[in-house]
Amino acid sequence: MTKEEITDVVIQQILEIAPDIEEADIEPEENLQSSLEIDSFDFLKILTAMNEQLGVEVPEVDYYKVDTLEHMVNYFFDRV
């Protein structure tokens, strides 16, 4: 998968789990949870959905590596 494809999948999952968020609100370098008001439950849902889509499970110790859209895309890109 290309980075663009992974970005599309991540954005699609965020919008599905948090339907009030607009795609334009997602800044690639901002912390996803604080900038989009995503709580720990929604964040876990996004990671669970990504696991279903890409087969990559993010352990809790790696949460700091998936804190922004850009980091999350890179994380999955390296592991898919």
């Binding site: 009030d20 008001e37 439950f41 876990l44 499970e57 809790e60």
Partner: protein, 374 residues
């Protein structure tokens, strides 16, 4: 025979639209059964009956807006089967079969967050709906509101909350207590537990904190109670109201029903389900009416200490702040630990500071022995 009324699903609710009946005349209903769906500013809420019986008559058609207290149906209670009694009460019922205050309104499609914001800002959704050719979103409401003066509508939802909270602060003599809890052992334990689990079965710290609070309430039941007409009534069931943010649209505090019977996995699943349904606008009436205590966790917003205002007739509100790295003395060494500030506001008419202190002590106890929370 009894009248099934439009319930008050929170102090800020004045009316709701009856969307759909899930029963028909002649159906037998059981206590707690969902019989209708109503739409409020908080989304669609399923409302339940409070007794066993037979649906005698449905008084209100779907898509009609009804004030709180409007009779919606007549339920023939099963334990008053005497025919004579029925006849005697039937007469006055005919009169109320056409409630005065029914206002027919076309249902407007809008997201729960949009609806809530519109009420707060005094934006008329009907006017907006004529301009927007789809479900109204939060941004549509905000776009309209930003053109107008940014004055909050004190007569709407914010006004009702203001009235309820002013009454609480005026009538309830609050006492406040706070304690620092070392969360390092609990978080480490949780991390090890989660490392062995599939991502779907992970437990979040919020669930652990709620489970610890519920266990502590079992030890100090005086705080899981109502204060009504000068009496302090301890409740058997623990239905903590959980403050849940609707993204960009305020807070809703539905109950996690019967938390006293749950293990940690069940708390996590039920909490996840409650949050999802709150945001989708799919709560049950009982979840909006039967809260016995409130737990507010503003930690996600970075607040370290929360001093709450008690929601009457409850007698306590538990505040859980953000978990921060802080200096912590252990024996004669100073270390950095994950520290949580737990607070409690109690109604001094029902309990005293000692009760609150016992609660915080128990909460700390369970968080130092997280394996007991499983």
């Amino acid at each position: 025979m009894s009248k099934f009324l439009m319930p008050s699903l929170g102090a800020d609710m004045e009316s709701a639209i009856l969307m759909e009946w899930l029963v028909k005349e002649g159906d037998e209903v059981k206590k707690g059964q969902v019989v209708a769906e109503v739409e409020t500013s908080k989304g669609v809420i399923e409302i339940e009956v409070f007794e066993d019986g037979i649906v005698e008559k449905l008084l209100v058609e779907p898509e009609i807006e009804c004030d709180v207290g409007t009779p919606l149906a007549l339920i023939n209670s099963l334990n008053e089967s005497s025919h004579e009694e029925e006849l005697t009460v039937r007469e006055p019922i005919e009169e109320i079969s056409e409630p005065e205050k029914i206002v027919e309104k076309e249902r407007i499609k809008a997201s729960p967050a949009a609806r809530k914001k519109a009420q707060e800002l005094g934006v008329d959704l009907a006017t907006l709906a004529s301009k927007v050719d789809r479900t109204i979103q939060l941004k549509d409401v905000e776009a309209v509101a930003s053109k107008d003066e940014k004055v909050e509508n004190q007569n709407g939802m914010r006004g009702a909350i203001a009235a309820a909270m002013s009454r609480s602060n005026a009538e309830i003599p609050h006492y406040y207590l706070s304690t620092s809890i070392n969360m390092t052992p609990a978080l480490k334990w949780l991390e090890e537990l989660n490392a062995q689990r599939n991502i779907k079965d992970r437990i979040l710290p919020a669930a652990l904190l709620i489970q610890a609070s519920v266990k502590a309430l079992k030890s100090v039941p005086e705080l899981n109670a109502f204060y009504k007409d000068g009496s302090h009534l301890i409740r058997d069931e623990i239905n903590p109201a959980i403050a849940i943010a609707i993204r960009k649209g305020g807070l809703i505090t539905p109950a996690l029903m019967n938390a006293q019977d749950m293990n940690l996995d069940k708390v996590m699943q039920s909490l996840d389900d409650l949050i999802t349904r709150t945001r989708k606008g799919k709560l049950r009436g009982s979840e909006m009416m039967e809260q016995t205590v409130t737990i507010t966790n503003l930690g996600d917003l970075g607040v370290e200490r929360v001093y709450g205002v008690i929601y009457p007739p409850q007698v306590a509100i538990i505040g859980l702040g953000r978990i921060v790295d802080a200096p912590w003395a252990e024996g004669d060494t100073l270390a950095v630990r994950k520290v949580l500030q737990a607070t409690i506001a109690g109604d001094h008419r029902a309990t005293d500071g000692r009760t609150g202190a016992l609660f915080l002590d128990k909460l700390n106890y369970f968080l130092q022995k997280p394996e007991e929370l499983l």
